[in-house]
Subunit: 544 residues, 2 copies
């Protein structure tokens, strides 16, 4: 039995070691096109930023380790050029030579590569992606020579993480993003706090812009936007998307899916039973929507690799799909998401509902708490949790992992309100943000109240000739309120519901949606047509 | 409709406001025996410790707020002395007077009270529980007068949290615990790192001791243990357990359960359909074992109160049971648990298995990571996750909340290995501790390897005439190893499995259990009878 693995980073390395554990007598070889095996690719932006200080920390695993501990043969700088499926052999190129190698089972883990948009100047010196060790070596060299200003093209994971790192090094940094929001895997409103905090840290943000030209002679000197703005730049980071490396699979006639990834089943088997595939180049499925997805997430790549290696070696593990959980640190902020976004759910034709919960990460009477905003999205009819997003300074990753687990398990919002989570004042509240979200969502699901989101408020008011009633205290109102809102303090309104017109529609607004919930329940039972502005003034401003 | 709530802290306050939201026309009254409503009882130890600086931070809610926002009438210092179920009336004592008050629905949320063990001197000055605002007022007065040394009787939540606080104030503090471990809701081995870290912080620990006498004239001066040791003490904190306040219910003939709590169904209805109960004084059920339990956890009290209030007001919420999740901070350490402990599972007659996973809280190549030890317990036959415990400096509460959610949902270890959680180097690893635990547990569940825990090792070796093979590097071995173990470096053993005897049983030990897993898989396939020492040298020492 001979197992060949193509690609030796996350998915490939996981596949090879799982295959070894399952089959000790197999011959196992990894062919890696690059010069390193299983390097810390998610750490690259933090190395550029200087938080990871030593280059060798990115290279924790060596071919010698694979040999000594796993009896796996790792060939670096070996590019697999072709697969002959009939003869079960691959063609390998290395050091200017070509040779053939046969296989019993083949595992493809080629990963993806950065997209370089067709911009003039994209090949100038000091224009780089942050994708390989070579990339960061080149960037570090540029930094050593002195970089005063940088432009990052693309406001996704790698772009923002790198922008943060450059900013921390004291480099004047601007992020230019083609879309009208940062981090498009989030719903658009989550871009607001991201922009605010990055701006506050001194990072410039340009949204909805295209790059006209990257300018310079040998090295880049500036970047010109389609708006005409010219941004000075001694360094340009291109993080404008990725594409899966599927040429090898395509040329071999393996099935490629609608997302552009290599089609695999739950065993990670391709359309050829002797060929498996795993990682960023594969098309897997979303556990919530069932839709085909192609994800470039290290966590998925590792799990998929393990399943591919297991099955290639004769095992029977099954990949369980992804709920697309991810997290990003943005200066002092954490943003995380799981499942479907509201935009994704709507695009998939799912009738969904959502609440926003601004809530402290731990008991507010214990020092050091800070507010996060948690959004939970569920299927209107069934109550099944579809997705969640959160942003804040502390405890965001914890809440999203809880939601990711709930979504994996197919729980409903009426389960979320009943979760039994760890409480002690330094860690959470007796009813933490997830529980509060579960309660608020369940209240809506059970028909106890209706909500309007801050982001549909304007159109709701127009369409319904409705009015916003702000029930907060005088001090809160004076500090800022929704334009056009009417101020009636909660206690006053409770005494005198006659202040409202039974023939009219109202949206009740408070600080975070709690007082408004109590007030809506009271008003509803008094025959008034009211809705809660979910998340209140906090969510209206996405203020964390 | 008139709803009376007895008790106005966590469960009672939650019940009253939920009842109000569900029924706006009901008359709702809270009778609270103490002088405060809904105070921050979980914050008391942190106020004693000086972390919560202002007394008013413990008292965020007032009767005026209940009146103004909820039209709920809160009567403080009103003790409910009797229930006349036939006439649906209660007798209330206040200010030396007695009066009757009728009800349509009654909600009992009397909570619990501290047990004062029958020790000589327990009524001396400067001997106090940490249970009420009055308690901490008295303790703060003592601290103002100057306290040099303190003894805390009882090594549970309140005892340890208070000991930490006193220690932070520079007071020489000793914890005296009757059992042979701290925090008996954890399995005994988790006491090891707790003791170590509290000791390192300067807190003395005495386990398996009884108090012979609390000595002093007017005020305490010392505490004498049954060992003869005399501990100086200007202050004694008694946190030796609690008992539910059930007299009122008992005297009214309501059913009391085997745990000593008031029996309720999933609507939180007692044996009288017009009387509901919630919080620490009730007997609810464990969602995993189905067993009757009485829990004193604020999170449960809040949820139960909400269900009781809902049903009393005509709603239909159902309590979903508890998985008994809790967390404690101990100096620089966090310890948390959920579900059943191994001891509890065994006591319940469940055939269970478990793994220990020492794993960094985030990618170890990113600065600032630290190792936690996560224990996961599952039902041997089904793979259903029964419980989890973890201890470490960072990220412990997150992992236990993920496990608590998985356990609530009835997930199996084979689900745990497939969870899709948020990964980015500052937050977790591509395969974080929960996923690693899921993989390790699933490997055992599927029969791919067998494990021995560090805490059954001695008896296993004896009973099986087995030998420990330590496969770590020379340097690791030299830094410390299991007495009697034999050292064969992993790479050597892989080259020469003949070093082991096919007729003998072995336990393979590495640093955390990963290299040993690979080695066990290799040796098993070479016909050797081997087991993995789960958690390796780290778990052997419970070293976090």
């Amino acid at each position: 039995m001979k197992i060949i693995v193509v690609g030796g980073v996350a998915a490939g390395a996981s596949a090879a070691v799982r295959a070894r554990r399952m089959n000790d007598s197999a011959e196992i070889k990894i062919f890696e096109a690059g010069p390193y095996v299983s390097f810390a690719n998610c750490g690259l932006p933090y190395y550029v930023g200087g938080e990871i200080k030593k280059r060798e920390n990115l290279l924790l695993v060596s071919p010698e380790l694979f040999r000594g501990r796993f009896h796996i043969d790792v060939k670096l700088n070996h590019r697999v050029a072709a697969i002959d499926r009939k003869r079960k052999a691959i063609t390998v190129e290395a050091g200017g030579e070509r040779f053939e190698e046969n296989y019993d089972k083949l595992i493809l883990a080629p990963g993806c590569e950065p997209l370089i948009p067709p911009i003039k100047g994209a090949r100038l010196g000091n224009v780089s992606t942050v994708f390989t060790i070579d990339d960061v070596d080149r960037i570090m060299e540029a930094l050593d020579e002195g970089v005063k200003s940088a432009v990052v093209i693309g406001g996704g994971f790698i772009g923002l993480e790198t922008a943060e790192g450059l900013n921390k090094r004291g480099i004047s940094t601007v992020v230019a993003e083609m879309q009208n929001q940062l981090m498009t895997i989030f719903d658009p409103e989550f871009s607001i706090p991201m922009e605010k905090h990055l701006n506050a840290a001194g990072i410039g943000i340009r949204l909805g812009v295209k790059i006209r030209e990257i300018c310079g002679e040998e090295k880049v000197r500036s970047v010109e936007l389609d708006s005409g703005e010219v941004l000075p730049a001694d360094l340009v980071i291109v993080s404008a998307g990725i594409r899966p490396r599927t040429e090898l699979a395509e040329n071999a006639g393996l099935r490629i899916g609608i997302t552009g990834g290599i089609v695999v089943d739950e065993r990670m088997q391709t359309s050829d039973p002797d060929i498996f595939a795993a990682g960023d180049a594969t098309e897997s499925w979303h556990r919530v929507s069932g839709a085909k997805v192609r994800l470039a997430l290290a966590s998925n790549a590792n799990r998929q690799g393990r399943v591919a290696g297991d099955n290639a070696a004769g095992g029977s593990l099954r990949y369980q799909g992804s709920v697309a959980t991810s997290v990003i640190r943005l200066h002092d902020l954490t943003a995380a998401r799981t499942g479907l976004s509201e935009s994704e759910a709507k695009a998939a034709g799912i009738d969904c509902c959502r609440v926003y919960i601004p809530e402290a990460d731990h008991a507010s009477y214990y020092p050091g708490s800070s507010i996060m905003i948690l959004k939970v999205i569920w299927e209107k009819k069934s109550g099944k949790i579809l997705g969640a997003q959160a942003v804040g300074k502390q405890g965001v990753d914890k809440r999203i992992d809880v939601l990711a687990t709930a979504i994996y398990a197919g729980l409903k919002v009426t389960d979320l309100e009943n979760l039994d989570l760890a409480y002690s004042p330094p860690y959470s509240s007796a009813k933490g943000p997830e529980i509060m979200a579960g309660m608020a969502a369940s209240n809506v699901f059970r028909g106890e109240e209706r909500v309007v989101t801050p982001f549909e408020l304007e159109s709701f008011l127009k369409e319904n000739d409705a009015e916003v009633i702000d029930i907060r205290t005088r001090g809160e109102w004076d500090a800022g309120h929704i334009p056009g809102a009417r101020h009636i303090v909660m206690e006053e309104l409770r005494k005198n519901p006659g202040l409202l017109d039974p023939g009219k529609k109202y949206v009740v607004c408070c600080g975070v949606g709690k007082r408004a919930h109590t007030t809506c329940r009271f008003l509803l039972q008094n025959g008034l047509d009211v809705r809660n502005l979910t998340g209140g003034w906090k969510a209206f401003n996405m203020d964390v």
